[in-house]
Amino acid sequence: MNKKQKKMLFRIVLAAALMVVFALLPIGDVLRFVLFLIPYLVIGYDILLKAWKGIRNKQVFDENFLMSVATIGAMFIAVTQSGDYVEAIAVMLFYQIGELFQNYAIGKSRKNISELMDIRPDYANVELDGKLEQVDPEEVCVGTTIIVQPGEKIPIDGIVTEGTSSLNTSALTGESLPRDVKIGDEIISGCINMTGVLKIQTTKEFGESTVSKILDLVENASSRKSKSEDFISKFAKVYTPAVCYSALALAVIPSLFSMLILQVPANASQWLYRALSFLVASCPCALVVSIPLSFFAGIGGASKEGILVKGSNYLEALSKTGCVVFDKTGTLTQGVFEVSAIHHNVLSEETLIEYAALAESASSHPISKSLKRAYGREIDRSRVTDIQEISGNGIVAEVDGKEVAVGNNKLMKRLNISHIDCHSVGTIIHIAVDSKYVGHIVISDIIKATSEKAISALKSIGVKKTVMLTGDSEKVAQQVASSIGIDAVCSELLPGDKVSKVEELLTEKPPKSRLAFVGDGINDAPVLSRADIGIAMGAMGSDAAIEAADVVLMDDDPMKIAKAIKISRKCLGIVYQNIVFAISIKVMALILVALGVANMWIAIFADVGVMVLAVLNAIRALFVHTM
């Protein structure tokens, strides 16, 4: 408990004790009023003050106003008639207990979440004249060597130049297994260095580093409100004035009616009492507190699992996901290509791969990387000139003065070179030298271990349709699709085709369900923003994806997609439960109070009890680890 909460607890205990003692004392009228005023003010002075400030600032109708009017009214009845001061004090008391509880519970869960997301590095160590100096990460230029000691956070993205260590990436990925790093490895900020001292050459500025991007995302998450939250804030704006006027009507109309029409003396104080109880019961705290809290807990719980949701509206959309569209490479497959076969006819195997690697030397496409890896030797770029990249086809370049074409069958057709189709499944890279076909290289990608499970998990939670989009050949696409059980495949797409394909799928789906697109973020940014929900995988490294996506999965496990949907459904379930539960109890209590069946005690229990239950229910959204 913090200072404020402790003070409140003290006030509650003191007021309760005073109230009990004074209730037992046999004392006269005036003194009794003065004595009871003490616990009343002890427990309620801040509420009265806030209500007064609210009126002065023209923000009249809030819970402080409701409570103040109700308790002042109850005091008034006690003075003039019943002498029962306990009721007014008890209402304040229970109201404050409820507030304290809610405050405590929220503070606790907030701390839980923010501690987990506490990845902001406070400093970076830079070596200056042989001495370590701590500097603000924002002041470190690209290319500076920083030193990270065991137990420290990695402040800026970079490459390891000295040392080996293992990194705790759990704050970023939710993955508890440490990751080993050695010289030459790229490492991202936000991880915690565990065992060895690392020297890191920074490759980005702090503002562009992973940790800043993620913090930006987390800190801006609340800017996008869900429909349910909008509903509640609109509801509260209408509801509070409405119940105040109803209470006023309840206090005045029946009395006037009996006096003027029935010509009998009115029981004005009974109606006043009912009207005050009505005010107590009507407080909308349960709703206005628990709905935003549920979303907050849902987003917090998800981020603890390595699923970052950019706003509660996306959590809401995610719960309605009916169709999931996947990018193939890097999402369902590892995106690490291996050369699995070399089919040559005129040149030797080595020369063939040499030509391919040289022609692709300037490209950073995963396929080029795998060719370079398979070549295995240093690439002499001076041998390559005049490189032309033909998007979706391949590359034509001059290697050692010969024109080398490296690409898929579309490229061969385009250049009018007859080629041999391969029987093996994989990405086939055809190579032609001086317009003569010289053979092909088969490259295959490995399907992620959890892809199949991920698809069946999605189906089991009611996702109607799964689609895979790929720029790869029909044959490879079909093989991947059938081995993991995906419903539909669209292959041989150019990057732009993916957007139109997703647009097509958007028009086909039922209007209430949502379409999610999952990609690894490379070349996917337009599709990610076009889909109802863009989910980027493996955020570590691709900042374009973090910006374009609505949901970011911190690691690249496709199982997380089903988990994210489950978390969103649990959260939305809680939101609807709370809306229905709170409103129905309120309506019931209001009717009972208006009819005189329930008194002020029941009214305050209806108010505080519902709030406590709704808050407890909302906090449930935080616990999603076992889903």
Binding site: I106, R110, M117, S222, V289, F296
Partner: protein, 72 residues
Amino acid sequence: MKKTYRIEVDCVNCANKMEEAAKKTSGVKGAIVNFMTQKMIVEFDDGREPATVMQSVLKNCKKVEDDCEIFL
């Protein structure tokens, strides 16, 4: 220009109220209150001095939620 301020606010709904109030303040282009991180991110209109605008933001926030604090 965007600036981030540390705030203190006790309930999610109060944070929403603060956000509304900050957005309506003159000189403020946009405002986001993050309850989880207890931060307020304010984007200012061009040519407005953040320090003076923030004074009125604080005043407006106090109006809707007496219990809040912005650390300027």
